[in-house]
Symmetry: C2
Subunit: 239 residues, 2 copies
DNA sequence: TTCATAGTTCGATCTTAGTCGAACCATGGA
DNA sequence: TCCATGGTTCGACTAAGATCGAACTATGAA
């Protein structure tokens, strides 16, 4: 008994409502200041400061000082991945937030997950890349094939700049709304950034929502066509 | 702000030390009684009962009554998946349990994750199946190819009985010690069960440890040979 | 230098929830 | 029928920690 890492501390860290709100806000991928996070969580500045210190000590956050501002963001993709998993459990258990708001359907369609595209659009892109052999799973990791490299280069992604980094290029991330994989990792981030540059999408200012422009919708569907096997058959039976 | 499912409740549920100990114990995949879990958590029976009621209400557990015993197990693979993710974060943050015990290296080698094989041996099996085309990722899901179906049938797994179930056949699960994928889902469970039948492995009575017999080691390495690209090159650089 | 803003530290308060003793219910065996 | 065992419910106690006011530090602007 009692083997393995200690879950309780880290889960308790996420388990406080104020801290959970902050982490959820940071899932937008943007670095936020202490004051902004205090607003998100609905607590005063001192309380927020104390919470953020604890989250940082727990390794969940990364902080950068810039002038008299302090910018806080999630530590890495792993943290985002666990948070998405928790959202999946919460959604499954019917623990949807009481004030679920009108934005919920839009969020399920497209949103940012830390820094990459998630939701229906995110899984569409992932599936499309896999179906056409641009992305394969091998050796336990996700890999970009040569055809995939060429493809994302054509889309205008600076792949060489990415591969120099130490962070993994491709990662899977499980979607809480779709319960399927979408693409994370530095490539996932770069693609979303590219979509913004191309004005295919617009990230909402203060939430995780991502809206597609009319031209963006067409271009995206052309770049990442859906396999005929699914989506035409309605939602896949699952669970 | 405040969009998406409510993480805090579910995380707080996991965040109590006593409950976290119970959940960790249940990662062994076995159904345990209330008394046994009370022992695991180091609390009295009435405290354990209260905790288990909360965990069940949160959808994390499944309970079965049998005579005057009540058997408790994890609700599903999703819960196990999130718990593994949390263990990964905790391990990464150096939150390893203080009394980490001598069993830790053995646990990293082979252990059960809810009901399937995890640890180094688990990722070996996963990688081997993928490398030989028995397992592919497609449409966002893991799929068993025809050659894979034949292969596991040869190993003695009753595949037809499995495919009738509603639970997904193949799933990925992220390993906290290896930080790589291993095989979950009903096939993962069936394979581990088969290894036990064949006396390749023995599950430890009261922890997650899985030990390979000498003949089991040989047979397993023959059935799931390691790709020459890794494992010969030492630990992969990651993160 | 002076002021304003961003953030931290400290201390006091107060609520939440984990804990267990005791009594109670249910099942199974003798 | 009686007893032992497994589990639940209730209530009281207690400890942990979230919260905020107040005082303090640091950066930047005027």
């Amino acid at each position: 008994m009692k083997e393995g890492p200690n879950i309780a501390q880290i889960a308790a860290l996420i388990g406080d409502p104020a801290r959970a709100n902050m982490l959820t806000a940071l899932m937008s991928g943007k670095a936020l200041t202490v004051s902004e996070l205090a607003g998100e969580a609905g607590v005063t500045l001192q309380t927020a400061s104390s919470h953020l210190a604890k989250l940082s000590a727990g390794g969940l956050l990364r902080q950068r000082k810039q002038g008299r501002h302090k910018y806080v963001s999630l530590a890495n993709d792993d943290v985002a991945h666990v948070l998405e998993g928790l959202m999946g459990l919460a959604a499954g258990a019917g623990q949807v937030r009481t004030r679920t708001g009108p934005k919920d359907p839009a969020l399920r369609a497209a949103r940012v997950c830390y820094n990459h595209l998630a939701g229906d659009r995110g899984t569409q892109m992932f599936d499309s890349l896999v179906a056409r052999g641009h992305l394969i799973i091998d050796d336990g990791h996700l890999h970009l094939t040569p055809s995939g490299s060429a493809y994302v280069r054509d889309l205008g992604v600076d792949l060489d700049g990415l591969t120099r980094g130490t962070a993994p290029l491709c990662r899977e991330c499980l979607d809480w709304s779709e319960r399927r994989s979408h693409l994370a990792g530095s490539l996932g981030r770069a693609l979303l950034a590219r979509f913004e540059d191309l004005s295919w999408v617009r990230r909402h200012k203060d939430c995780r929502l991502v809206t597609f422009t009319p031209t963006g919708t067409r271009a995206f569907d052309k770049a990442f066509p859906v396999a005929s096997t699914r989506r035409s058959m309605g939602a896949p039976a699952h669970q």
